[in-house]
């Protein structure tokens, strides 16, 4: 298991961040900056692609909440794409599905 790599893709009014690697206490900072920057930018839908994230810990959930709060300020919701089932279970159990959208 290595580090987390985050690439940012901008397409029309959508910014998609593709994460690859674990989002944990060691790596969450690598996601924090680009995701919060995307969330703070006006008028863009923000998607986070988790297809290549093997697991997400406490530290990763914190980043998601901060991004969701920033998006809420402009009536947007964070979209999570290709969420692995075990991470979706955690998000669902933790109550995140009430303020983030999980899409296929």
């Amino acid at each position: 298991m290595g580090d987390l790599e985050v690439t940012v893709e901008r397409l029309a009014a959508t910014v998609t961040l593709h994460a690859a690697g674990p989002v944990d206490a060691k790596t969450a900072a690598s996601l924090h900056e680009p995701l919060l920057a995307a969330a703070a930018a006006p008028n863009a839908t923000v998607c986070l692609d988790l297809a290549r994230v093997p697991y997400m810990s406490n530290a990763g959930l914190r980043v998601l909440v901060l991004a969701a709060q920033a998006l809420r300020a402009r009536d947007e919701r964070l979209r999570l794409e290709h969420v692995p089932p075990h991470i979706e279970n955690v998000l669902s159990s933790a109550g995140f599905t009430s303020f983030v959208d999980i899409v296929a």
Binding site: K26, S57, N58, L61, L66, Q69, A73, A94, F96, S98
Partner: protein, 396 residues
């Protein structure tokens, strides 16, 4: 007071003893080594099991011998592989007289290449046991084969003297000593429990206790030679050594040296925890495999629990605060627990495909569980016992 690694320094509480500690990264692969320069001999206490460490020891001792030629005593605190494997590998200048010294039971285990007693069977790479002769056998039960001294080619002799053990709370540690010149001496105490052949060594205000501080560790208790009664008696006896206040620092077999006060506290806590370990299953390949599965399950379940719990708190934060996490009235250091589990998960992942012994992962798991437990409010884990759950996972 501390011992700086990889440098010569005066042994605390002595006038003419110098020590060069080689403090290895804590692991079960190789132990710390303490090299001591005394007027009449150079001591190499626990050479360990690392070729690189052996080269270092050989270099340091060679330089010390160039200053003053003396016999070299290799002393083993016990026969476990990680302390003893390199006991016959030192490369020293021609003409150097080397003698090995250990408990009689350690000498027998090594001579017979006993893979269980030396814990060689724990390592997947099937290491060879050091079968080099032990010249000085200590604490032999019948006394007949016990060394009364070590004789060298030039006629020099280091006498090993027996002295009456002090009785404290009816607990006596069998004791030997070796005069090292200039009024200095090495005190040797029989401290069984971790193994039958465990000894502790005192120089000035420094007490080197081998692996005594780890003897009640759930990943180590039950190894061949481990004995609950002996351990409890030894812990009482070692505690009494601290009574006079003239021991300042302790050197364990793994990890950094610690103050005598801290070690005494650790050993007392351990004594309390060890009291229940009366029916420990023997540590064999099956038990190790079972503990490894238990450790893996602990990691997955702890991660899931902590992640969901913290996730629920973050979800509450989302609704309670416009931005940021704010402060929720939860007395749990979830971030600290997350860091501990993250580190452990990475360690466990790195283990897969490596030749690291499974026991290493188990010990790391116990350490992670303890760390999480300390960060968890006591009121929220009544009845939990990390020790009990690892010692008897099926009941956990």
């Amino acid at each position: 007071m501390s011992l700086a690694p990889n440098t010569w320094q005066t042994v605390p509480g002595s006038r003419s003893l110098e020590i060069f500690p080689i403090l290895a990264q804590p692991s079960i692969v190789s132990s710390n080594c303490f090299i001591v320069s005394a007027p009449t001999a150079i001591l190499v206490i626990d050479p360990g099991a690392s070729r690189e460490q052996t080269r270092r020891i050989s270099d340091v001792v060679t330089v010390a011998l160039a200053v003053s030629k003396r016999p070299v005593l290799v002393i083993l605190t016990h026969c476990h592989q990680d302390h003893s494997q390199e006991a016959d590998r030192l490369v020293l200048p021609a003409g150097t007289e080397l003698r090995r010294l250990a408990h009689d039971a350690a000498a027998r285990a090594l001579e017979q290449s006993d893979r269980a007693l030396t814990a060689a069977d724990v390592y997947p790479w099937n290491p060879a046991v050091c079968t080099a002769p032990i010249h000085g056998r200590l604490f032999a039960p019948d006394g007949a084969c016990e060394a009364s001294g070590l004789t060298f080619g030039g006629g020099d002799r280091l006498e090993i003297t027996r002295s009456a053990a002090s009785l404290v709370d009816d607990v006596a540690l069998a004791h030997r000593s070796i005069a090292l010149g200039d009024g200095e001496r090495l005190d040797i105490y029989h401290t069984p429990g971790h193994t039958a052949c465990s000894i502790s060594l005192r120089l000035g205000a420094l007490l080197m206790i081998g692996d005594l501080a780890f003897a009640a560790n759930p990943g180590l208790c039950g190894l061949a030679g481990w004995n609950h009664e002996d351990l409890i008696r030894t812990l009482h006896g070692v505690d009494s050594l601290f009574d006079n206040g003239d021991i300042a620092i302790c050197g364990p077999g793994h990890g950094d040296a610690v103050s005598a006060a801290a070690m005494r506290d650790t050993l007392r806590l351990m004594r309390e925890e060890a009291r229940d370990l009366t029916a420990v299953e023997a540590m064999n390949a099956n038990r190790i495999a079972g503990l490894k599965r238990y450790t893996d399950e602990f990691l997955e379940e702890a991660l899931a629990l902590v992640t969901i719990l913290s996730g629920r708190l973050y979800a509450a934060s989302y609704y309670l605060f416009d931005e940021g996490m704010g402060r929720l009235p939860v007395p749990i250091d979830l971030d600290g627990i997350d860091r501990t589990l993250t580190e452990f998960r990475r360690f466990a992942d790195a283990f897969n495909g490596s030749t690291t012994p499974e026991l290493t992962v188990i010990l790391k798991g116990v350490q992670a569980a303890r760390c999480c437990s300390r960060r968890w409010p006591a009121t929220m884990c009544n009845g939990c016992s990390i020790r009990r759950s690892w010692v008897a996972p099926s009941d956990g």
